[in-house]
C-alpha cells in the first residue's frame, strides 16, 4: 500500500504539470501594443512628439542632413578622409550604395511612415469616437497639422539631394510620395512622382496644415520645437523660393513679416523677430524669437557620436570640417569685423565654426529654419518678382547683415543682378553650417564650385552632371522594381 501511495504522489505531480496559460502569453513590459496607443491623450501627444523624434534622427534633422548640404558645397575642407563622416559626399564620389545615400533616404522615409501611421491611426480613432472626451477638435486639427507639415519637410528635404531642382524641369523624376501607412510586406513597389507632383503634394500638405494649425504654444520651447501656423508659413516661403514662384514668396512672407522696416517682426501668431545677437542664437536656451524651428537635444537625448553638428564643425573633433579660406569662398567674403567671422574658432591654423560649441555633450540644437531666412527669402523674391531693387528688399537684407556687421550696410545696388549676388552671399555667410549652401546653389541651377585642397582636388559639378544629385539608394533599387534610377 505504501508503494501505491508513493506512486500516486509521483503521478499526481506528473499529471499536474502542464501548460501554464500566463507563461504562454507574455506581454512586453517595455513596448506598447498598437491596440493601446490611442487610449489616452498623453499617449496621443507622445505619438505627436514621436514624429518629431523620427525627424530628429542623426541621419536627418538630427545633424547629417545639414552636413550633407554644407560639405557637398564649397566652403568646407574635411580634417579626415573617413568615409563614415561624409568624405564621399564632400568629394562627390558617392554611389548608390554609399552609406549616406542609403541612410538618409531610410531615415526620412522612416519618419514619413511614422507620420502616415499616426495620421491614419488618429483619424481612425477620432472617427470611431475613441478619442471623444480625451482630445478636442482643435487638438485633433493641430496634431494633423503638425503631421502634415513634418511630412512636407520630409519630401522637400528628400528632393534636395535625390532630385533635380524645380527650375530644371518639373517633369524630372522626383521622390516617392508615400502617403499611406506601411505595416505589412505589401507595397514594395512604387514609382517616383515627378518633381512637379512632389511640390504639389508638399504645398497641399502645407496649405492644409496651415488651415488646421494652432497659432502658438504656451512656451518658447514648444514654439521652437513644434510646428505652429507661422512655422508653416515660414516653410512655405522656402518652398516657393525653390519653385521660383517669387510672387507667392512675397505674399506668403507678408503674412509673417508684419513690419515693413527693421526689425521686421511678425505681428500675428508667434512673434518672430531677428535676435539682436547672432552668436546668442546658438546658445541656451535656443528658443529666441528667431528660432522658428529647431531640433532640441539634451544630455539624455543626443544626436549620437558621428551625427551631431558639433561632431562636424567643432574644432575639437578629429572628423570635423574647417573653412576653406581661399578666395571665392564664404570665409574670404566676410569682413574681419563681421561677428560671423570674428566668432570663428582658430585651431591648428584652421578656422572652425563657433556655432556648435558643445562638443562634450552634443546638445547644441540643430536649426531647421530661422527667421533670418524668411527675411532674405522675402528680400530676394521682392527683387526677382519685379526685376528692380526695392528699398524694402535692401532693408531686409541689411537687417540680417548689419546685425552681425553694422558697418556693412548696403546703400544700394546698381543692378538687380548685383542684388542677387549680395543676397546669395549673405545667405552663404549667415547660414554656414546650417545646410543652406547646396540648396541655394541648386535651386538656381548653379554649379557646385571646384575645391582644390590638401584633401584632394574636386572638380566643379555643373547642373548637367550626373553627380549634381545623389543616385537612388541601392537598397531601394534592389527592392522597388518601379524605381527609376538617376542617370
Amino acid at each position: 500500500m505504501r508503494n501505491i501511495l508513493k506512486i500516486s504522489i509521483v503521478f499526481a505531480l506528473l499529471l499536474t504539470v502542464g501548460c501554464s496559460k500566463e507563461y504562454l502569453d507574455p506581454a512586453p513590459q517595455t513596448s506598447l501594443s498598437d491596440l493601446t496607443v490611442f487610449d489616452t491623450k498623453d499617449r496621443v501627444v507622445a505619438q505627436v512628439n514621436g514624429m518629431y523624434a523620427f525627424m530628429k534622427s542623426g541621419a536627418f534633422l538630427g545633424g547629417r542632413f545639414f552636413v550633407y548640404n554644407d560639405v557637398r558645397a564649397d566652403n568646407f575642407i574635411p580634417k579626415s578622409s573617413n568615409l563614415v563622416t561624409n568624405f564621399a559626399t564632400w568629394n562627390h564620389s558617392v554611389v548608390s550604395s554609399t552609406n549616406e545615400v542609403q541612410n538618409f533616404w531610410g531615415s526620412v522615409y522612416a519618419a514619413v511612415n511614422a507620420i502616415n501611421i499616426f495620421m491614419d491611426g488618429l483619424k481612425t480613432a477620432w472617427d470611431g469616437g475613441k478619442l471623444t472626451g480625451k482630445i478636442t477638435q482643435e487638438e485633433y486639427n493641430q496634431y494633423m497639422s503638425e503631421a502634415l507639415t513634418l511630412r512636407a519637410i520630409c519630401f522637400f528635404d528628400l528632393l534636395q539631394l535625390y532630385a533635380k531642382p524645380y527650375n530644371l524641369g518639373t517633369t524630372n523624376p522626383g521622390v516617392l510620395l508615400r502617403l499611406t501607412p506601411m505595416k505589412s510586406a505589401a507595397g514594395n513597389d512604387l514609382a517616383r512622382s515627378s518633381v512637379g507632383e512632389c511640390y504639389t503634394q508638399i504645398l497641399s500638405d502645407l496649405n492644409t496644415a496651415e488651415s488646421l494649425a494652432r497659432v502658438n504654444y504656451a512656451t518658447a520651447l514648444d514654439n521652437t520645437t513644434r510646428v505652429h501656423r507661422n512655422t508653416i508659413i515660414a516653410l512655405k516661403t522656402r518652398v516657393y523660393l525653390h519653385m521660383q514662384d517669387w510672387a507667392t514668396v512675397v505674399s506668403e512672407s507678408a503674412k509673417i513679416v508684419g513690419q515693413t522696416s527693421a526689425p521686421f517682426s511678425a505681428t500675428s501668431g508667434v512673434a518672430f523677430a531677428l535676435n539682436p545677437s547672432y552668436t546668442a542664437l546658438f546658445g541656451t536656451p535656443y528658443t529666441s524669437a528667431e528660432s522658428i524651428f529647431s531640433m532640441p537635444f539634451t544630455t539624455t537625448n543626443t544626436p549620437g557620436g558621428q551625427n551631431g553638428l558639433p561632431h562636424y564643425y567643432n574644432s575639437a573633433s578629429s572628423e570635423s570640417y574647417y573653412l576653406n579660406t581661399s578666395p571665392g569662398f564664404a570665409y574670404a567674403a566676410m569682413d574681419p569685423a563681421d561677428v560671423r567671422r570674428s566668432s570663428l574658432v582658430l585651431a591648428g591654423g584652421n578656422y572652425f565654426l563657433g556655432k556648435y560649441p558643445d562638443f562634450t555633450t552634443l546638445t547644441n540644437y540643430a536649426p531647421v529654419i530661422r527667421y533670418a531666412e524668411v527675411l532674405l527669402n522675402r528680400a530676394e523674391a521682392l527683387v526677382r518678382a519685379g526685376g528692380t531693387v526695392t528699398a524694402e528688399a535692401i532693408a531686409l537684407l541689411n537687417a540680417v547683415r548689419t546685425r552681425s556687421y553694422p558697418a556693412g550696410a548696403y546703400a544700394g545696388f546698381a543692378t538687380a543682378a548685383d542684388f542677387y549676388t549680395a543676397v546669395l552671399l549673405e545667405r552663404n555667410i549667415e547660414f554656414l553650417g546650417e545646410g543652406m549652401r547646396n540648396m541655394d546653389l541648386m535651386r538656381l541651377g548653379l554649379p557646385i564650385p571646384a575645391k582644390n585642397t590638401s584633401m584632394g582636388n574636386v572638380a566643379q559639378i555643373t547642373s548637367s552632371s550626373t553627380s549634381y544629385i545623389w543616385p537612388m539608394p541601392a537598397n531601394e533599387q534592389g527592392l522597388n522594381s518601379l524605381l527609376t534610377p538617376n542617370e
Partner: protein, 1060 residues
C-alpha cells in the same frame, strides 16, 4: 514476475494504438500497481573480479542482475557479493574501459570473472536525448567525444576543443581573442535569419549560449570547466534530435559531467602552464619604405607640388621607425588548475571538483579568469528511489581592449597594421606624453589629414573593458523505480547567469575624448528553469524482443533582464569607474524578455534479437513567442537499423573480415525557433524622448503568422567493424530540407518599416553531405599502441527559395561593407564582389569588369566622369558599383572539411597529433584591401615591392596614387581580394609520459607530464593571417569574411596530471 511478463506484450500493442502522453502514463500506473504486488525470493552470489592483462583485482566494477536494478560494486580487493532474485539468470559485469561481460548464473553462488580491457571502445555508452544507449544500439547519427580528449587543451571553453573531432561538425574560432565564441555548424547552415548554432544541453538541461560580454567577449560555454566533462555527444540527424522538437534543427550537443565511481576515493590534479602568441602578424612597410612609397603616390596624385612625408626624429634624435604590432601583441602567460575528488559508496557516488584558470591573451590587456566548483552527487535512497544533484558555480572575468574587427577605429588588430611607421606612440619631445591630437593619434607634423585612428598605446593604457559573470548551473532529480524496467524521473534544472559589463573610456584621447570621458555599466540577469518529468520503461522478453518506451513533459521558462547606465564628462580625471563622479548622466538602456516552452514527448524503440531495430519519437512544443493559435507545433522522427552481422548468413560469409555491419536510415521533421523573438508576432510602439518630452513611435512590424522553421532530415548510413573491430567506420549520407525559413524579409526602405524588414516564413534551402568516420587501432598491445581517427565531411548548401519578390539577401560587414549575397540556386552567404582582372600592364590601373562584361579602368586622380574609362579606349564609362556590377565570386562554405587524429603510446610515453582541414572554400580578405589602401594607411611589404611603376610591369598591385581607396578594394569589395581559403592545420600536438608504480608511501597512483602545442602550424595559400576566421561571428548571411580580424593564437602548454 511472470505476471508482468505476460502483461507486457499487451501493453506494447496498446501503446502503438494510443501514442498519447497521458494515456501512456495511465498505463504505466496500471503497471506499477500490478508490479507492486510482486514478492521476491533471493539468493546470495559472490566472487572476485580481476583484469585480464595483469590479473590484479579490479575495484569499482558494477555488477547487476540482468533486467533488474539489483546490483553491487566490487571492493578494493575486487570482491563483490549481492543477493539476486531466485529468478535471476544472468549477471552483467561492467567497468569503464573494459568490455562488459554477461555471465550465466546457472545455479552457482560463487562467480569469479576476468574482464578484458576494451581496447576498441566497442562498449561505449552514448548519451542521447533523455537517456543513454549503448553505442552499437544507436539507430540515429550521433558523434561522441570523450572529455579526456579535451581536458588538457589550452582553451577557455570546450567547444573550441571540439574542432575536427567529429564528422559533420564544423567549428571555427573567429580569431585568437580570449574567450571568443566559436562558430559551430552541425551539418551546414540551417537557417538564414535565425541561428545555425546548436542546442547545448548540460546534464539534461538546455543552457544559455552565445556572447555575454561586450568588448570583453565572454562565451557562455566557458562557465563549464572542460576538465569536468565526461563526454560530449553530438546529435546530428532528426531521429537523434527529434525529442528536442522545435530546437533540434541545428543539432544538439549533450554535455555530461563526470560522476564518481569506485570504492576508493580518487583524487586528481590537472594543471598546466602555457604561453600564447599570435600565429601570424602582417608584415608592413618600415618607415623608410613607407616614406618612399607614399611620397611616390603623392607625386602620382598631385605632381611635383605634392606634400612630402619624411622621417621624424625621436627625443634622442634618431628617426622613428615604429612596428605598431609590437605595442599590440605579446606573449601571454597562462595557467590552469583543476582538482577533483570522486568515488562511491554502495549507496552514494560523488564527484567534487574545483578549478582555477588565469590566462593572458596574445593581445595586450586581454585577460581571462575562471574560478569554478562542482559537486555531482547520486544517492540511492532505497531499492526504489534515487536522488541526485549536479551543482556547479562559476565566476568568470574577462578583460579586453577593443579588439573589434571590421571598421572600429579603436580595433586593436587594425591598429597593428594601419598606422604610419614614421610616427610613434609617445611625443618626441622627451616628455613621455602620448602622441595624441584630440581623440586621434598625433601626426607629428607630417602632412597627413587628421589620422582619425587612435593611439593604441594610449587607449590600451587608459581604457578598460570588462565582463564579470557568475553562473549557477544546477540539476536536481529524483527517480523512482517501482518495478523492474520502469523509471519515473523528475528533474529540475536551473541556469542562472549574471553578467556585468563595465566600460571606461578615458577623456584623454580615443572614443570618448569628445565626451570628456565615458563610463558605462550594464547588468544582465538571465534566469531559466527547466522542469522535466519522464517515465521510461525497458523490457526484454525472452532476450529477443527488446522494448524501450519513454514519455515526458517538459516546461522551460527563461527570463532575461538587461539594464545599463552611462555617464560622460568626468568631474575629475581620477575617476575611472561608473560609480565615480561625472557631470552628465546618459539615458541608459534596458530590456526585459521572457519566453516559455511547454512540451510533451515520447519515444518508442524496439529491436528483435538485436538484429532489427526500429525507433520513433514525437514532441509537441508550445512556444510563447508565437501568436495565439500558432503556438503549438509537432515534430518527430523515426529510424530503422539492421544489424547485418547478427544474421547467420552474413556472419558466416563475411564474419572473418567484418566483425560488425549495421545499416541505418532515419527521417524526421524538426524545428528551429531561433529566428522567432520573444514578441515577434506583435505590432509594437516604443517609447523615447524628443528633447525633454516623452515620445511613442512605431518600432516593430510584427507578424502574427510567424511559425518555426522546419527541417526535414533524411539520413542513411552504414557502420562496420573490420578485423575484430580493429577498424571501425561509419559512413552517413544526409539530406536536410529546410522549409519555412524565417526571413527578415527586406522591405523597400521607402516604406519606412522599422529595421526595413518583416519576419516571415518564406524561404527554403537544403544541406546535403557525406560523412565518413574511420577509427583504426593500428597497433594495440600493452607496450605500444597507435590509433588513427579520420573524419571527412562534404557539404553542399543551396538556397531554393527566398521571399516572393526578394531576389537577394545582402550580408553586411561591420555595418559598412556589403560583402555577401544570398540568392536562389547558390549557397547561402556567397561572396559578393566586382570582378577584377589584375592590373593593366600599360597604365598600371586595376581592370574592373562591369555588369555588361566590359573592362573598365579606374583613374583616381581624374575627376568626375573621367575617373572610369573603358579599357579599349572608347572613353568614359559609368562608375562601377557593387549594386550594379557586383556578383557572387566565391563561396565561404567548404566542400570538404574534417580532422585527422593520431595517438601513439609506447610504454609510458604518449603522443598525439591532431589535424583539422577545410578544403574548397573562399574567403573575402577585407584586411588585404586595407593593407593595400593608398590613403596614408601603411601597406604590406608586397605593395612596396611589387606596385606598378612602369609600362609593361606585370603585377597585381596598381599604380599607387595617394588617397586612392578604390583601386584595391577599400571602397567596395573586388574579386582580387577573394581568395581560396583551403587549409590543413596542425591543431594540436602533444607528448607526455606517465609514471606509474610509484612508491606506495607517496599515495600517488600515476603522474602524467606533458607538453602540448595548440594551433601549431597552418598549411595554406591564403594570404591573410589565418584562413580560419569569421569577422561576422555566427552570422549565416555574412560568413567567410576577414575584415581586420585579430590573428589566431598559438599556444604552448606544459602540464601535469596526478592521480592519488
Amino acid at each position: 514476475m511472470k505476471y508482468l511478463n505476460i502483461l507486457a506484450p499487451r501493453f506494447y500493442t496498446i501503446n502503438l494504438n494510443f501514442l498519447f502522453m497521458k494515456r501512456i502514463l495511465l498505463l504505466f500506473s496500471l503497471l506499477l500497481i500490478a508490479g507492486s504486488f510482486v514478492m521476491a525470493q533471493t539468493v546470495m552470489i559472490s566472487g572476485t573480479v580481476t583484469g585480464s592483462e595483469d590479473g590484479l583485482p579490479l575495484p569499482g566494477v558494477n555488477i547487476t542482475v540482468k533486467g533488474t536494478t539489483v546490483g553491487a560494486i566490487s571492493g578494493t580487493d575486487g570482491r563483490y557479493s549481492l543477493s539476486a532474485p531466485a529468478s535471476a539468470q544472468t549477471l552483467v559485469f561492467s567497468f569503464i574501459g573494459f568490455v562488459t561481460q554477461e555471465v550465466l548464473i546457472s545455479g552457482r553462488t560463487t562467480i569469479d570473472v576476468v574482464l578484458r580491457q576494451d581496447l576498441y571502445n566497442v562498449d561505449e555508452v552514448v548519451v542521447v536525448a533523455y537517456g543513454t544507449q549503448q553505442k552499437r544500439e544507436i539507430t540515429g547519427s550521433i558523434a561522441s567525444v570523450k572529455g579526456d580528449a579535451i581536458k588538457a587543451v589550452p582553451v577557455q571553453s570546450f567547444d573550441q576543443a571540439l574542432q575536427g573531432k567529429a564528422a559533420g561538425v564544423q567549428i571555427t574560432l573567429p580569431n585568437g581573442v580570449l574567450n571568443n565564441v566559436p562558430v559551430i555548424r552541425i551539418r551546414g547552415f540551417n537557417s538564414i535569419s535565425g541561428s545555425s548554432y546548436p542546442l547545448i544541453v548540460v546534464d539534461g538541461v538546455p543552457i544559455a549560449t552565445g556572447n555575454w560580454g561586450g568588448n570583453a567577449i565572454t562565451n557562455a560555454l566557458a562557465d563549464i570547466n572542460p576538465a569536468d566533462i565526461q563526454s560530449m555527444d553530438i546529435l546530428k540527424d532528426a531521429s537523434a534530435t527529434a525529442l528536442y522538437g522545435s530546437r533540434a534543427a541545428n543539432g544538439v550537443i549533450i554535455i555530461t559531467t563526470k560522476r564518481g565511481s569506485g570504492a576508493r576515493t580518487k583524487v586528481t590534479y590537472d594543471g598546466n602552464i602555457g604561453f600564447t602568441q599570435p600565429y601570424k602578424i602582417f608584415e608592413v612597410m618600415n618607415a623608410a619604405q613607407y616614406i618612399e612609397h607614399k611620397n611616390k603616390a603623392w607625386v602620382n596624385l598631385l605632381g611635383a607640388a605634392a606634400p612630402q612625408i619624411s622621417f621624424v626624429n625621436d627625443a634622442n634624435g634618431n628617426p622613428i621607425d615604429t612596428r605598431w604590432s609590437d605595442y599590440i601583441y605579446q606573449t601571454g602567460f597562462q595557467h590552469n588548475h583543476t582538482i577533483s575528488f570522486s568515488g562511491s559508496t554502495p549507496s552514494t557516488s560523488y564527484f567534487l571538483s574545483a578549478g582555477f584558470t588565469d590566462q593572458e591573451g596574445m593581445i595586450k590587456k586581454n585577460f581571462y579568469e575562471r574560478k569554478n566548483a562542482r559537486m555531482n552527487l547520486d544517492h540511492k535512497l532505497n531499492k526504489y528511489v534515487n536522488l541526485g544533484a549536479n551543482i556547479a558555480y562559476t565566476l568568470g572575468y574577462t578583460e579586453a581592449p577593443n579588439t573589434g574587427a571590421s571598421f572600429a577605429t579603436a580595433g586593436a588588430a587594425r591598429l597593428a597594421f594601419v598606422l604610419p611607421p614614421n610616427i610613434g606612440p609617445y611625443m618626441n619631445d622627451g616628455s613621455g606624453d602620448y602622441n595624441i591630437e584630440g581623440s586621434a593619434i598625433g601626426r607629428m607634423g607630417q602632412p597627413f589629414p587628421v589620422l582619425g585612428y587612435y593611439n593604441p598605446v594610449a587607449i590600451f593604457d587608459l581604457n578598460k573593458f570588462t565582463t564579470s559573470t557568475d553562473r549557477l548551473l544546477t540539476t536536481v532529480y529524483a527517480s523512482l523505480t517501482p518495478v523492474k524496467g520502469l523509471v519515473l524521473k523528475t528533474q529540475y534544472g536551473i541556469d542562472y547567469l549574471n553578467a556585468e559589463q563595465t566600460t571606461f573610456q578615458s577623456p584623454v584621447t580615443g572614443d570618448s575624448f569628445g565626451a570628456n570621458g565615458f563610463a558605462g555599466n550594464s547588468y544582465q540577469k538571465f534566469k531559466r528553469w527547466t522542469w522535466t518529468n519522464t517515465a521510461s520503461y525497458n523490457l526484454s522478453i525472452q532476450e529477443k524482443y527488446n522494448i524501450g518506451l519513454l514519455a515526458g513533459i517538459e516546461e522551460q521558462y527563461s527570463h532575461n533582464i538587461w539594464w545599463s547606465g552611462n555617464k560622460t564628462n568626468v568631474a575629475d580625471r581620477f575617476f575611472k569607474v561608473y560609480q565615480g563622479t561625472w557631470v552628465t548622466a546618459g539615458m541608459g538602456g534596458g530590456a526585459i524578455g521572457e519566453n516559455y516552452f511547454i512540451s510533451y514527448f515520447g519515444r518508442a524503440s524496439f529491436n528483435y534479437n538485436r538484429k532489427y531495430y526500429v525507433e520513433g519519437s514525437v514532441r509537441r512544443d508550445g512556444f510563447s513567442g508565437l501568436a495565439a493559435g500558432n503556438k503549438f507545433g509537432t515534430f518527430g522522427g523515426g529510424s530503422l537499423m539492421w544489424n547485418a552481422s547478427n544474421e547467420e548468413f552474413i556472419s558466416s560469409a563475411l564474419g572473418s573480415i567484418f566483425s560488425d555491419i549495421r545499416l541505418k536510415a532515419s527521417y524526421g521533421r524538426v524545428g528551429n525557433i531561433s529566428a522567432v523573438g520573444d514578441f515577434s508576432s506583435l505590432f509594437l510602439y516604443g517609447a523615447g524622448v524628443y528633447g525633454a518630452v516623452p515620445t511613442l513611435g512605431f518600432n516593430q512590424a510584427g507578424n502574427a503568422d510567424l511559425q518555426w522553421e522546419t527541417s526535414d532530415k533524411y539520413d542513411i548510413g552504414i557502420s562496420f567493424g573490420i578485423l575484430n573491430d580493429r577498424i571501425q567506420s561509419e559512413i552517413n549520407y544526409y539530406y536536410n530540407d529546410i522549409n519555412g525559413l524565417v526571413l527578415n524579409v527586406p522591405q523597400s526602405p521607402s516604406k519606412g518599416i522599422p529595421g526595413n524588414t518583416i519576419p516571415a516564413n518564406v524561404g527554403s534551402m537544403y544541406n546535403t553531405g557525406l560523412e565518413l568516420t574511420l577509427t583504426s587501432f593500428n597497433f594495440s598491445t600493452s607496450r605500444f599502441s597507435w590509433t588513427t581517427t579520420l573524419n571527412l565531411s562534404t557539404l553542399k548548401n543551396e538556397v531554393t527559395a527566398l521571399a516572393p519578390g526578394v531576389t537577394q539577401i545582402l550580408g553586411i560587414t561591420g555595418g559598412l561593407e556589403t560583402t555577401n549575397r544570398t540568392v536562389v540556386g547558390k549557397p547561402v552567404g556567397g561572396l559578393l564582389a566586382v570582378e577584377t582582372r589584375g592590373v593593366d600592364t600599360e597604365t598600371g590601373r586595376r581592370v574592373y569588369v562591369n555588369a555588361a562584361g566590359e573592362e573598365v579602368l579606374f583613374y583616381f586622380e581624374n575627376t568626375g566622369a573621367a575617373r572610369w574609362q573603358y579599357r579599349d579606349g572608347s572613353g568614359n564609362a559609368p562608375a562601377i558599383t557593387t549594386a550594379a556590377d557586383g556578383k557572387v565570386m566565391g563561396s565561404p562554405l567548404p566542400k570538404f572539411f574534417g580532422g585527422l587524429d593520431n595517438n601513439w603510446s609506447y610504454m609510458g610515453f604518449d603522443f598525439t597529433l591532431g589535424l583539422t582541414y577545410s578544403l574548397f572554400f573562399d574567403i573575402y580578405s577585407g584586411s588585404k584591401a586595407g593593407l593595400r589602401d593608398q590613403r596614408w594607411w601603411n601597406n604590406s611589404v608586397e605593395v612596396y615591392k611589387t606596385a606598378w611603376a612602369n609600362p609593361g610591369d606585370k603585377t597585381n598591385i596598381p599604380k599607387p596614387v595617394m588617397n586612392d581607396n578604390i583601386s584595391n578594394g577599400s571602397s567596395f569589395p573586388i574579386s582580387e581580394n577573394i581568395e581560396r581559403g583551403d587549409y590543413v592545420k596542425v591543431r594540436s600536438m602533444s607528448a607526455g609520459y606517465t609514471f606509474r608504480k610509484l612508491p606506495a608511501e607517496t599515495n600517488i597512483e600515476s603522474i602524467r607530464l606533458y607538453g602540448q602545442v595548440f594551433n601549431a602550424f597552418v598549411f595554406t595559400k591564403f594570404s591573410g593571417s589565418d584562413p580560419e576566421v569569421s569577422t561576422q561571428g555566427n552570422s549565416n548571411i555574412a560568413p567567410g569574411i576577414d575584415r581586420n580580424s585579430a590573428p589566431q593564437a598559438r599556444n604552448f602548454v606544459f602540464g601535469a596530471s596526478i592521480n592519488f
